[in-house]
């Protein structure tokens, strides 16, 4: 039986205040996760994870303490809050800049995402049939290639109860369903591999909402075409169009992460890294007038969906860059205070035993008004990088690389033929100052974003339209 968490939270908060804590936050967080994997159409693994427990965060003498446990007895929870206070107090002389939290509106609310086709009521045969049918269709797409196919159907449901000493009380239930795949396609001596995840908030109906089956088949057709017909990539300075999958990872890696205020302050310096935005301020121009990038947890059916963050602050869309100008950073209550602003609801914790830290949700380039043909039409010679496989970025998020997978040569405004592994290795500054047009069709992909110590993986969406970069350097592998 699950415990009465409301009673337990009152016990914890009261005990924390008795011990002179300035702030006590209680989060009961249950996560149910199931994954079913197939290899070349045969079941290869089945995992079920059921995790629940309580995370307690306190502030005392200007220092943060955090304690978590999944032994949910009254005595153990009292011990946990006492320990959080004890270690925070013991470290407070090493906290020069005392922790304060921004003053936010106190939320008392309950919300949930309804599953229209409940995962747990959907027969196992149906889930496995979905994977087998998909595998069967993909394996029969071409007789000229051989393929190896790994599929994973994943369901995750997070249920939280957050309360605090300032009166916060937020209850939420959010399910997510998505497909991850890794395809290997061989054509003669050529081998290509593609990883991707598609899905979002909801139960088994997410399969249809996000057209997972159709999109996976279409992507496989593209991969087969590329490996069957690719030619050497051009290199040099040219115009480049990147598709929504690539613009999404760019928005996430080079803008989203850099705009996390805790990174800007150096709080991830020993872990996920720092940020070039340390030297930026709101209102500064960092890209062309066409650069519009946002993070919005309130997008319905999205992979990074929530309406209240893990500090109980109401979530909203954040326009990070507007018309090339820095508009706002991602904040929790701690960083908002230090930036003399208010939290924009960006605190997230991956599990009951992780502290809430500044995170992205659904990060994307905003759509423009170009059709794809209009993006192409005045490019004499360039490349279209529709999808990618390898990517990485440096600690400060300035030096990045995206290596194309589904990629094509553009000549005289037309797509000509697939090309092998064009490399966009580019600085953030060059990238944002070369963008001159955005398509109007949006695409979103699931991702698991890593940050924090201990490591926290949280579900996000990354996306955007196709975007055009003028006169950038393309390399080849």
């Amino acid at each position: 039986m699950l415990p009465d968490v409301e009673d337990l939270s009152r016990l914890v908060i009261d005990r924390g205040l008795e011990l002179d804590a300035d702030y006590v936050e209680f989060r009961f967080h249950a996560t149910y996760k199931e994954s079913i994997k197939t290899k070349d159409g045969l079941l290869s693994s089945h995992n079920i994870n059921y995790l629940y427990g309580v995370g307690i965060r306190v502030i005392i003498n200007g220092a943060f303490g955090f304690s978590s446990t999944n032994i949910l007895t009254e005595s153990n929870l009292v011990r946990a809050v006492e320990e959080a206070i004890s270690i925070a107090r013991a470290s407070s002389h090493l906290v020069e800049h005392k922790v304060h939290l921004g003053e936010e509106e106190v939320s008392s609310v309950e919300y949930f995402v309804a599953e229209r086709k409940r995962w747990l009521d959907t027969p196992m045969e149906e889930k496995i049939s979905f994977l087998k049918d998909l595998d069967s269709e993909i394996s029969s797409l071409s007789k000229d290639v051989s393929s190896y196919r790994l599929f994973g159907l994943v369901y995750r449901k997070d249920e939280k109860y957050i309360s605090s000493s300032i009166g916060t009380e937020v209850k939420s239930t959010i399910p997510i369903t998505y497909l991850s795949y890794l395809l290997t396609v061989k054509k003669d001596s050529n081998v290509i591999q593609k990883k991707r995840s598609i899905g979002g908030a909801g139960g088994f109906e997410a399969i249809n909402t996000h057209e997972i089956y159709q999109r996976t088949v279409e992507n496989t057709k593209e991969i087969i075409d590329v490996v069957s017909n690719w030619r050497r990539s051009p290199k040099g300075t040219m115009d480049v169009i990147v598709g929504g999958e690539v613009s999404g990872i760019i928005a996430h890696e080079c803008i989203g992460h850099s705009f996390e205020a805790d990174r800007i302050l150096g709080r991830e310096g020993g872990q996920a890294g720092e940020s070039y935005a340390k030297k930026l301020s709101v209102g500064e121009k960092i890209g062309t007038d066409e650069v519009y990038i946002s993070d919005d947890p309130t997008l319905p059916s999205s992979g990074g969906y929530y309406l209240y963050d893990d500090e109980g602050v109401k979530a909203r869309k954040k326009e990070l860059i507007r018309e090339g100008y820095v508009n706002e950073f991602l904040h929790n209550r701690e960083t908002a205070y230090l930036f003399n602003t208010t939290s924009n609801g960006s605190a997230r914790a991956a599990c009951y035993d992780r502290e809430p830290i500044v995170r992205m949700s659904n990060t994307f380039f905003e759509p423009g008004d170009y059709s794809f043909e209009e993006l192409l039409e005045d490019i004499e010679y360039g490349v279209y990088i529709k999808g990618y496989m390898e990517w990485n970025i440096d600690d400060k998020r300035m030096n990045q690389r995206y290596t194309g997978l589904e990629s094509y040569l553009i000549e005289n405004g037309e797509i000509k033929f697939p090309i092998k592994y064009p490399v966009l290795e580019i600085s953030t500054k060059t990238l944002l100052n070369s963008l001159d047009a955005r398509g109007r069709v949006m695409e979103f992909y699931m991702g698991l974003c890593g940050k924090g110590e201990p490591y926290q993986l949280i579900p996000v969406w990354r996306g955007g339209p196709a975007i055009r970069l003028r006169g950038v350097v393309v390399g080849e592998r």
Binding site: S68, E83, I87
Partner: protein
């Protein structure tokens, strides 16, 4: 409270319940983890954290259908409810490809020494250690600030399996990772110390490394792309060899997501390279007595003098490959416990002096693959790099991306240092005992 007796009692009841419901293969592992994390940045403590969790892992094999269930609770009703759900669905599941029952042979478990130091699990000792570091590193020095973390873990685990196997293990590990920053020229250096005891965490060495390295030059230039000889530090070696060792898991081999497919017995690395996983080594911070299937772990020679001796196996993949079980379950994905490279002949100082024109890379991160089958990857400089000329330091370098094939890195190792160091950090999760190595003709790119 979740005492060992309570956990064992619950495991016994669950074992009986599953057997009564026709389950043939069962492995139940109950784990209690107590941990502290002290995270710090810019010479300030960011947060002190305490964790006190119990975890139950249950592996079920019934009628050639298998599943792994993980519970972060000891609530018997919750666990039974989930087990019932699975057992009801099992008849609708297809058989798992290549499954074989748990082995029935009798085994003995070996326990490494010097892996359990419970008295060191004191957060106040940890806070004092961080305070000392901040004072020592930043006083009278060009190092402006330090960030990082101290992780302290105490793990008690008990395992019982339907094939009669039973074992317990207790261990502690401590991991201090410190990144020093020199803001005047925008460079950083990361130093690391891991051990099974807090008293063995070497803060003096960390202090000397950070202060010493960050003052080796007063300028930093962007790298010019091209082919370079590289000297890779233990942190950089651990990151790259960590990724390479994962790709030696039989799971990756059978799924064609590794460059080491069909490589058994073949030369895949320079003669200087021998790679081991010794979970039974005394004092190994990655020590492990049994794997996730209850199989006793063993010290495994993976690569010897450049030749690949074995993939990493659990009992299922060993059966499929006709190979010996190396005790690396992961039920579904075999994985390394720790990574150990053989020592070389040269003192580290001699290795540095030996190079004519080379780049020393102190740390890499974000290693990502374009194609696992062909081993095409890139990895980024994380912290400071040095341009060396005949043993002299010319300048710090920035912007380095190693853009290579796995085979080129492994086959082009020309020197291995004698001294090795245990390392592990945020972007490298396996405790690794590794030396400095030199690799020739490595392709380096950078952003424009």
């Amino acid at each position: 409270m979740a005492t060992s007796i309570f956990i064992e009692d619950l495991i016994d009841r669950l074992m009986r319940y599953l057997r009564d419901n026709g389950v043939e293969d069962i492995v139940i592992r109950g784990k209690r983890i107590d941990s502290y994390v002290i995270k710090f940045h810019n010479n300030n403590i960011s947060v002190c954290e305490s964790r006190n969790n119990v975890i139950l892992n249950i592996f079920i094999g019934v009628k050639r259908r298998i599943a792994e269930l993980t519970f972060h609770t000891l609530d018997e009703q919750v666990i039974i409810k989930e087990l019932d759900k699975y057992l009801k669905a099992v008849n609708y599941l297809p058989e798992v490809e290549g499954y074989r029952n748990l082995p029935e042979d009798t085994v003995e478990y070996e326990e490494p020494l010097n892996v359990f130091h419970p008295d060191d699990m004191d957060p106040i000792k940890g806070i004092n250690l961080i305070e000392g570091l901040i004072n020592k590193i930043t006083e009278n020095n060009k190092v402006s600030r330090i960030s990082g973390s101290l992780n302290m873990n105490l793990i008690k685990e008990v395992m019982k399996a339907s094939n009669g196997r039973y074992c317990e293990e207790r261990k502690t590990n401590f991991n201090l990772s410190v990144r020093g920053f020199r803001d005047d020229i925008d460079v950083s250096y990361q130093a690391n110390s891991i051990s099974t005891s807090l008293s063995s965490i070497n803060t003096e060495e960390i202090t000397d490394e950070i202060k010493g390295t960050l003052t080796l030059s007063d300028k930093c230039e962007t790298v010019t792309p091209g082919k370079y000889d590289l000297i890779l530090s233990p942190l950089a070696v651990a990151n790259l060899f960590g990724h390479f060792t994962e790709l030696l898991s039989a799971y990756y081999i059978e799924n064609n997501i590794s460059p080491f497919v069909n490589s058994l017995g073949k030369k895949i690395a320079a003669d200087l390279i021998s790679l081991y996983d010794y979970p039974l080594m005394n004092g190994n911070p990655g020590a492990k007595v049994f794997d996730d299937s209850g199989e006793p772990t063993k010290n495994t020679d993976i690569i010897v003098n450049g030749a690949l001796c074995t993939y990493l196996h659990n009992w299922i993949t060993a059966g499929k490959f006709g190979a010996e079980n190396t005790g690396h379950a992961g039920i579904f994905v075999p994985q390394p416990h720790s990574i150990i490279l053989s020592e070389g002949d040269l003192k580290t100082e001699e290795l540095f002096n030996e190079c004519k024109h080379a780049i020393v890379i102190s740390n890499v991160w974000y290693t990502r693959f374009q194609n696992y089958y062909e081993g095409i990857f890139s990895s980024l400089q994380r912290d400071v790099a040095l341009l060396m000329d005949h043993g002299d330091i010319k300048t710090f370098l920035s912007g380095i991306r190693i853009s290579e094939m796995v085979s080129n890195i492994l086959l082009n190792v020309t020197s291995v240092a004698k001294e090795r160091k245990w390392v592990m950090w945020w972007d490298h999760p396996y405790p690794s005992l590794v030396p400095y190595i030199m690799v020739k003709d490595v392709n380096i790119t950078t952003a424009t």
